[in-house]
């Protein structure tokens, strides 16, 4: 069994465990147990509670599922957008290709986190938590495609110059028709791009949240839970406050191991 296999199984186990925690627990992520804020581990709260008395294990499980689900969806959208733009730029007229790559360059001229920060902060202050989560991952998907599109463009350009494509064009196939046959050949390029984007999006969401620009409370998120670590008085009272960071790093390590395999 390779390390990537092990990582895949562990990641699946982690996600299943998070589902089970949410199904079995009597607490919801926003339920406040006013009698026991900052409580230690107990039968009712296996990983204790936060400063508002909310179950830490349930919140961490929910954050894990939200972050994984959001990152996978955003990554799928990004990869699809990149595939569309990259292949269109390579198989379309030269002017379209030039324009598409110029747009990519404009996006890539700014550091990604800075761009995310700018876009995310330009949204209304009164966004609901669910909307803020959707917006965060939508923004990640909307801004994550240019680097991927550049890689797809290079790959597609290579395919366009391939002998079979030349023969197909000489045989009378139009660019649009050649594109249909080229797309399956790009899958080997798109899959790594899809997998690389997942940990990148999880990290970006955590960084945005830590800057106060991520998913809104009371919805749990990695970034929001990282903010808890700023409270040094809280750290003295309970060690369970480190649980979300430990889970986040574990999840990212497993994702990195999966990416390394491809």
């Amino acid at each position: 069994m390779t390390f990537a296999h092990l990582a895949r199984w562990l990641l699946t186990g982690l996600v299943l465990f998070a589902f089970v925690v949410l199904l079995v627990s009597r607490n919801s992520y926003s339920n406040q147990d006013r009698e026991s804020p900052l409580a230690g581990a107990s039968v009712l709260h296996p990983a204790g509670t936060d400063a508002l008395g909310r179950d830490r294990l349930v919140r961490a499980a929910f954050a894990l599922l939200l972050s994984t689900g959001g990152a996978v969806t955003a990554s799928a959208v990004t990869t699809a957008a990149a595939a569309g733009v990259g292949t269109l730029a390579a198989f379309g007229p030269a002017s379209v290709g030039w324009l598409a790559m110029l747009v990519c360059d404009v996006f890539l001229a700014l550091p990604w986190l800075f761009l995310l920060m700018m876009v995310r902060s330009a949204l209304p202050l009164t966004t609901s938590p669910a909307n803020s989560a959707a917006i965060t991952f939508l923004v990640l998907a909307a801004l994550g495609w240019p680097a991927c599109a550049r890689a797809v463009y290079r790959g597609a350009l290579g395919l366009r110059k391939a002998e079979w494509a030349l023969q197909a064009r000489a045989g009378g196939l139009r660019s649009g028709q050649t594109f249909r046959y080229a797309l399956p050949n790009l899958l080997s390029l798109l899959l790594p791009q899809f997998l690389i984007s997942i940990p990148a999006f999880v990290i970006a969401e955590a960084n945005l949240g830590a800057l106060g620009l991520g998913i809104g409370e009371p919805l749990p998120s990695w970034g929001g839970m990282l903010l808890e670590l700023d409270n040094s008085a809280l750290l003295v009272q309970t060690r369970w406050v480190y649980l979300p960071v430990a889970l986040l790093i574990l999840m990212l390590l497993l994702l990195e191991a999966l990416v390394a395999e491809v």
């Binding site: 110029l102 360059d105 404009v106 890539l108 001229a109 700014l110 550091p111 990604w112 986190l113 800075f114 920060m117 700018m118 876009v119 902060s121 330009a122 949204l123 209304p124 202050l125 009164t126 940990p199 990290i203 955590a206 960084n207 949240g209 830590a210 800057l211 106060g212 620009l213 990695w222 970034g223 990282l226 670590l229 700023d230 040094s232 750290l235 960071v245 986040l248 790093i249 990212l252 390590l253 994702l255 990195e256 191991a257 390394a260």
Partner: protein, 285 residues
């Protein structure tokens, strides 16, 4: 002559990209649904004055062309406009912070490159990728910048330079290790090794010159990564740099500050790209 023409073309493209970034950022921020909102509106003590300021801002920035010309006019006057948040010229805010950020970035990149280069030279000398080197790099890449900075702050050891260096070193190490591992297996190097030429001489005379173009591309990537990590590191460590200013400007919809920082970042990234992607004639010269 061809070299000059090529360079001119690259710089024109660079300026066009920076201009498009500025126009795009202005449109994005100005027409974003949250532009005319202010946290002070939620406080009854400041709500009235905040709304009055917002209505003045609304009248001023009603159309995009006058807004852009006002910003460009600010740059032409040499003060880059007036900050909406602090009510002082933007350049007065940015110039002292540029020195802080520049110094932080320089020290971080230098330390990261030293660490990455030493580790990759040692690691690539072995026959197979060693877990001893790969594991710490993977672990460092799996930790979000904000989490690493927070943990350093809690542990009371390590500052912004260390956090940024570790982040950059882990990324650079992965690339350098791969490049060096491939280079060591080049036939002429294998032959030179069998002839007993010293490792130091091999690195200096053969390896470093042959990977110079990849190293310059990696240097660009380091600058982009460092710029990306600036905001969380400076905010968490409370470093009064450009990243912290950009974060505060983004939170307060301070368009003049945001535009100037955007332009500076775009200039830095595109210029680094132009330098690393040198024309063939330049390389030969």
């Amino acid at each position: 002559m061809k070299l000059v023409g090529d360079l001119l073309k690259r710089f024109t493209r660079m300026l066009a990209i920076v201009l498009l970034v500025v126009i795009g950022s202005t449109v994005l921020v100005r027409f974003a649904p949250g532009y005319f909102s202010d946290v002070r509106e939620m406080d009854p003590r400041y709500a009235r004055s905040a709304r009055a300021e917002l209505s003045v801002e609304s009248a001023r920035s009603n159309a995009i062309i006058p807004l852009l010309s006002a910003e460009v006019g600010g740059w032409l006057r040499g003060n880059a406009g007036i900050s909406r948040q602090y009510d002082v010229p933007v350049l007065d805010l940015i110039l002292p912070r540029l020195a802080v950020t520049g110094s932080l970035m320089l020290r971080s990149i230098a330390l990261a490159w030293t660490l990455a280069l030493c580790a990759s030279l040692l690691s690539s000398a072995g026959p197979h990728p060693s877990l001893l080197w790969q594991m710490p790099a993977t672990l460092l890449l799996a930790i979000p910048t904000a989490a690493m900075a927070t943990m350093c702050l809690l542990a009371g050891s390590g500052g912004p330079v260390l956090v940024m260096s570790l982040l950059l070193a882990a990324r650079d190490f992965k690339f350098l290790d791969r490049i060096l591992r491939k280079t060591w297996l080049d036939p002429h190097l294998l032959y030179a090794r069998t002839q007993g030429i010293g490792v130091t001489r091999l690195i200096r005379a053969h390896i470093l010159p042959s990977i110079a173009s990849q190293l310059s591309a990696l240097a660009t990537l380091s600058i982009v990564t460092a710029l990306g990590a600036l905001a969380p590191v400076e905010v968490i460590f409370n470093v009064p740099g450009v990243g912290q200013l950009a974060w505060s400007a983004a939170l307060n919809r301070d368009l003049p500050v945001l535009l100037t920082v955007t332009m500076l970042m775009a200039l830095a990234v595109t210029f680094a790209g132009v330098i690393s992607d040198r024309p063939a004639e330049w390389k030969n010269a």
